[in-house]
Amino acid sequence: MDKPFKRRDLLGIRDLSPAEIIGILDTAESFREISNREVKKVPALRGKTVINLFFESSTRTRTSFELAAKRLSADAVNISVSSSSLSKGETLLDTALNLDAMAPDCIVVRHSSAGVPHQLAKVSKAAIINAGDGANEHPTQALLDAMTIREHKGKIDGLEVAIVGDILHSRVARSNIHLLTKLGAKVRVAGPGTLVPSDFGFLVESGLTVCPHTEDAIHDADVVMILRIQRERQDSAYFPTLREYAIHYGLTNDRLDLAKKDAIVLHPGPMNRGIEIASDVADSSRSLILDQVKYGVAVRMAVLYLATGGSLSGK
């Protein structure tokens, strides 16, 4: 398997083949133990430069990418650009060209507008890694979720995965739906009608079901993935109150009991405890939220390694 992702950019899971996804996961697997060493550093990316270009605030993802780059000995620079500085005159194109002129090997970009990584990839010589673009994709999140699922379930093919919450605005949901269905899982989505488009099943050719009720989605699931409710959406009146959301859509122990006995719970973070997920569920042994964060570093090491010229490890 010597064909890494197209142009070495990682813009979305949608563009990847199942073999490429598995290749990335296997590569991540091989990087995992580095983070457990006394000296958490290998020279794989020595002399390479990675720019973390974050137009949207992020603690977890940015830190995860930064650690991933540093553990591979790359030079990592973090740039946080508030979207308002663009309105001061610099166009997205100028920002990209300016950074490109400093000859980074890889630009990790997060932006609140869908498509920004794709727009940058058209003009940039550096490899572009999408760290989340609007409601479009968040490919490394889906990869780390897949790694977590694989670790605990031994496989992805044939699993029943429920995704619950604000599907409409969720890049995490989109990337996960693409990844999981490509690898043979069955995905069911549920949430308030205002946030779960009834025709969302179109998103992929097969393997995706839109459920009318949260309970239907969770019933007999192997994996329950809970999406974060973005409180700022409150203004748009997608649902009346957080209280009502918690009662009707939140993952409580009662709802989780509908899933398989050995079902696992994932959440991309940061959690709103007591809203989309009850604290006792979040803190239970079935919740793998911290594993997700742990695997995130390995996945991002793999992605940076592949984007800057490494080849996929095959099994």
Partner: protein, 429 residues
């Protein structure tokens, strides 16, 4: 002696007359004075333009453009917009009032016309605002604007949201025989949207503008037109529901007309993949089922006219995130190529209907006397077309100041090769 021009031996396309091959059109003092058949003796002592093998038609009239002057001259000026217009076969253009300041009074209407006269290319027939500053609150001085040369009223991209104000606007515009143009978009349904709401918007994670946002306003306007008897003209129809509603309103005898843009009869929302901001406009590119309904509407006459909605923006303004880039694309130079490629060469419509949609009907809808036809006595606004000429559109060679066309690099079969305004040659390919 007066200036005499003979546009000789062309294939005359004029819905006012049966198709005529080998006709010569005599132009004197800016007017068409006579036609000569292939066997008639030709007039002497006149300049001759040889149109053998070419189509000769009344100049095209673009009912919907944005010329950005006054106020946004970095995007376009009346001079540059008119230069692009005549290269596309348009002899008249009708600029929307969303200038800065808004064309909501006679002084601005007059200024726009004067600027066009200075340029001496296409005719400019401004469209005045419905409400002051297009704020949707108080009616603008429609009577005064009409006296200054406005041919219709519209609040275009800021459609009047309040049905009560719109009703009054229609009642009032009717007194002055002014068509009321509506960009139908209920912003409570489309706000924040940047593309058509559907499968592709869900896939791309972009916020959608549902077809419903257009249709709900079309239906409202139909009811208002029925009640007031005013002439409502629906701008850039783009959805199946809108076409169907207009079709049934016409069958009911309601005073309604509508236009379609070349991009809406050519492209679907699929082209938004890749996030090229030159695929972003309002109304947005719709899905296949809507495009099919648009083609049906063009075929059966429900759709009266082709208008470009030429919306120039500076390249820097379009080099932004898809969410933040402004709506709109240029269209004056590519419309004729798209009409030939997508409608004429594919057999959707014939040449006569093309001329009807681009010239005769716009002249009728805006009550432009002596235009939209080449019958003797009419104004000599003439386009000469080579229906087979292969050419490639390039943004970098556009006569517009702007470069925001999604058709950069497209090959077209059919072009304006000469454009005459008031009998004067203003463009020659």
């Amino acid at each position: 002696m007066s200036e005499r021009l003979l546009i000789a031996n062309g294939h005359l396309i004029d819905p006012a007359a049966p198709e005529n091959t080998g006709m010569s059109v005599l132009v004197e003092d800016g007017k068409v004075s006579a036609w000569f058949g292939p066997n008639d003796p030709k007039p002497e002592r006149c300049e001759v333009f040889d149109a053998a093998g070419l189509l000769v038609a009344p100049g095209f009239i673009d009912m919907h453009v944005h010329l950005r002057e006054p106020g946004q001259e970095h995007k376009e000026t009346i001079a540059s917009g008119c230069a692009a217009a005549v290269a596309g076969g348009w002899t008249s253009v009708c600029p929307m009032p969303n200038t800065n300041p808004v064309n909501d009074n006679a002084a601005i209407t007059r200024y726009m016309i004067e600027q066009s006269e200075r340029g001496g290319l296409a005719n400019v027939f401004p469209i005045g605002a419905i409400t002051k500053s297009s704020d949707g609150v108080e009616l603008a001085e429609m009577g005064e604007m009409k006296a200054a040369g406005a041919v219709a009223v519209s609040d275009d991209g800021r459609p009047v949201p309040n049905a009560g104000i719109m009703r009054r606007a229609m009642q009032y515009a009717k007194d002055f025989d002014l068509p009321v143009i509506d960009h139908c978009e209920d912003k409570s349904l489309s706000s924040g949207g940047v593309m058509h709401e559907g499968k592709i918007s869900l896939l791309l994670g972009l916020k959608g503008m549902p077809a419903l946002a257009e249709e709900i306003d079309v239906v409202r306007d139909i009811l208002l037109a029925k009640e007031t008897g005013a002439h409502i003209h629906i701008a850039h129809v783009s959805t199946r529901g809108a076409v169907e509603a207009i079709r049934s309103a016409k069958n009911e005898g309601i005073n309604i007309t509508c236009e379609v843009t070349p991009h809406h009869f050519t492209l679907t929302d699929k082209v938004v993949e890749g996030y090229d901001t030159n695929t972003k406009m309002a109304p947005p590119l719709r899905s296949e089922e809507h495009l099919e309904a648009i083609i049906e509407g063009i075929k059966d006459g429900t759709i009266d006219a082709i208008a470009t909605d030429h919306a120039p923006h500076h390249a820097d303004e379009k080099a932004l995130e898809y969410d933040r880039a402004p709506f709109g694309i240029t269209g004056l130079e590519t419309a004729i190529g798209l009409a030939f490629n997508e409608l004429v060469h594919k057999g959707v419509i014939g040449l006569e209907r093309l001329v009807e949609m681009c010239s005769t009907n716009p002249a009728k809808i805006f009550r432009l006397k002596g235009r939209g036809t080449l019958t003797p006595g009419s104004i000599a606004d003439i386009v000469v077309i080579d229906p087979q000429l292969k050419w490639t559109y390039s943004n970098s060679e556009s006569r517009s100041k702007a470069r925001n066309s999604p058709f950069d690099g497209w090959d077209f079969y059919g072009a304006a090769v000469a454009t005459f305004v008031d009998g004067k040659l203003v463009y020659r390919r």
